[in-house]
């Protein structure tokens, strides 16, 4: 029982800080950059992702013994798209202004790497309750990251928090932070801060390998790069050989 408790605690705390989906695992970047100009938009996005993540983790975990391995990705996408459609309809019906803020990024939750990544890495190997907990933890981690990015961007970019004027209107806001460029800048700086903290605790830096795309478990582009390197060294060797041969011929002629 005590090991169970330890595991529950481990799973729950992991997603919040140590494996924070945005700052540490570098998943789901598109939406985190796009809708973080206002705190309300960021919160709406986070709650949508949280709901979809928990629901899809539960269903995928329930179906994990029935889905054939070869068609698992399309099956996961179908499940996720179903939940995204439900969330989309609820938001359109009850919170039309949030729907306006999120725009196309709401349907794009379907292809958010966090959700497919957790399905692939966790829910298809673990029980229902623990998968739901993993979804909750990762979703809250995403929320923390989104809120911190949006807090900086809204405060500096428009001088407001949740739409309420905080910095007096006589001080002009720094437009840069409300622009797309500000999203990249704030995320980059926050990620550097997280790297510094991770370094302090002896953890590795945040990396975006092809592994963090998580969708396929293996990254075809990596193999491609390796084959390109090989081709390059092959070509180099051939050139060197040809050069040596030309030199020899010249010496023979002399």
């Amino acid at each position: 029982m005590s090991t169970d408790k330890a595991k529950v605690k481990e799973v729950f705390t992991r997603g919040l800080i140590r494996e924070n989906p945005i700052f540490r695992l570098v998943l789901g970047m598109c939406s985190s950059l796009a809708v973080s100009t206002t705190l309300i938009g960021a919160l709406g996005m986070s709650v949508s992702v949280l709901v979809v993540l928990i629901c899809s983790n539960i269903v995928i975990s329930l179906l994990r013994n029935f889905i054939p391995n070869t068609v698992r990705i399309p099956a996961y996408i179908t499940v996720i798209a179903g939940f995204v459609t439900i969330v989309q309809m609820v938001i359109k019906a009850f919170f039309p202004e949030i729907d306006g803020l999120l725009g196309i990024y709401l349907p794009l939750i379907v292809v958010n790497c966090i959700i497919l990544g957790r399905a692939e890495a966790f829910a298809n190997k673990n029980g229902v309750l623990i998968s739901a907990l993993d979804g909750l933890s990762m979703g809250l981690g995403y929320t923390i990251a989104m809120i911190s990015i949006a807090f900086i961007r809204e405060l500096l970019g428009s001088g407001t928090l949740f739409g309420v004027q905080v910095i007096p209107a006589s001080i002009p806001p720094i437009m840069l932070f409300a622009l797309p460029a500000g999203g990249f800048l704030v995320l980059g700086i926050l990620m550097a801060v997280c790297n510094r903290i991770a370094e302090h605790f002896g953890q590795p830096k945040a990396e975006l390998g092809c592994d963090s795309c998580a969708a396929y478990g293996r990254c075809p582009a990596k193999e491609f790069e390796a084959s390109q390197d090989e081709a390059q060294t092959d070509a180099d060797r051939k050139i060197r050989k040809a050069g040596a041969r030309a030199k020899r011929n010249e010496e023979d002629r002399k």
């Binding site: 598109c30 796009a34 379907v110 958010n112 790497c113 550097a192 830096k205 990396e207 075809p220």
Partner: protein, 196 residues
């Protein structure tokens, strides 16, 4: 014609899918380290984007809209894209070996990419007709290619630069992307005046 040209110009520069709309950030950051790979990925993205626009447009227009099934758009689009990419992969493997060896490896990566679904959803939301939708997809793909091309160059310089240790890798790349995004902001006024 001017209208189509303006859509193309806006899609490539003013609303650049990477720097302004934040679509396709994962491949942009993940695969832009080498020029060869970056170009292969971009060509594959253009290819898949154009094909999926061509495939989803009639489905939406003649199947979903007349039957009031618009709420199924997300689900139908992503499944059509996934199936289409799988079909293209099989077809290329079988009949066009040379093209497959150049693009094949990137195809499965692109299925679950937000840039492809993003362009399809945008086309529907803006009520583009078929020609406009196709031009928008081509422009979006070219914009992606431009971003990848720029960044494969910038990143090889960054790797040799002396930046603080905890900024190395992703953070400094994001800061560089921020500067690039800022420069794309400058095109916003150009489009309005160029195609009056």
């Amino acid at each position: 014609m001017t209208h189509l040209l303006s859509i193309l110009f806006v899609a490539i520069l003013v609303e650049n899918y990477v720097f302004v709309q934040f679509l396709g950030i994962c491949p942009f950051l993940g695969v832009s380290k080498k020029l060869n790979t970056a170009m292969g990925m971009s060509v594959a993205v253009i290819f898949v984007m154009v094909l999926s626009t061509a495939a989803t447009y009639p489905i939406n227009k003649y199947l979903l809209e007349p039957n009031d099934l618009e709420y199924l758009q997300t689900l139908v689009f992503i499944l059509v894209i996934a199936a289409l990419v799988q079909l293209v992969e099989i077809f290329l493997k079988r009949h066009m070996k040379s093209l497959y060896s150049a693009l094949g490896i990137f195809l499965p990566l692109i299925t679950t990419n937000c840039i492809v679904l993003g362009v399809v959803v945008l086309n529907v939301q803006r009520h583009y007709n078929f020609a406009e939708a196709m031009v928008n997809s081509i422009g979006g793909g070219l914009g992606f290619m431009l971003a990848m091309f720029m960044f494969s160059g910038i990143r090889s310089r960054i790797e040799e630069a002396n930046v603080p240790d905890f900024f190395k890798g992703l953070p400094i790349t994001l800061v560089a992307a921020s500067l690039a995004a800022l420069s794309f902001q400058g095109f916003a006024g150009v489009a309005d005046n160029l195609f009056k």
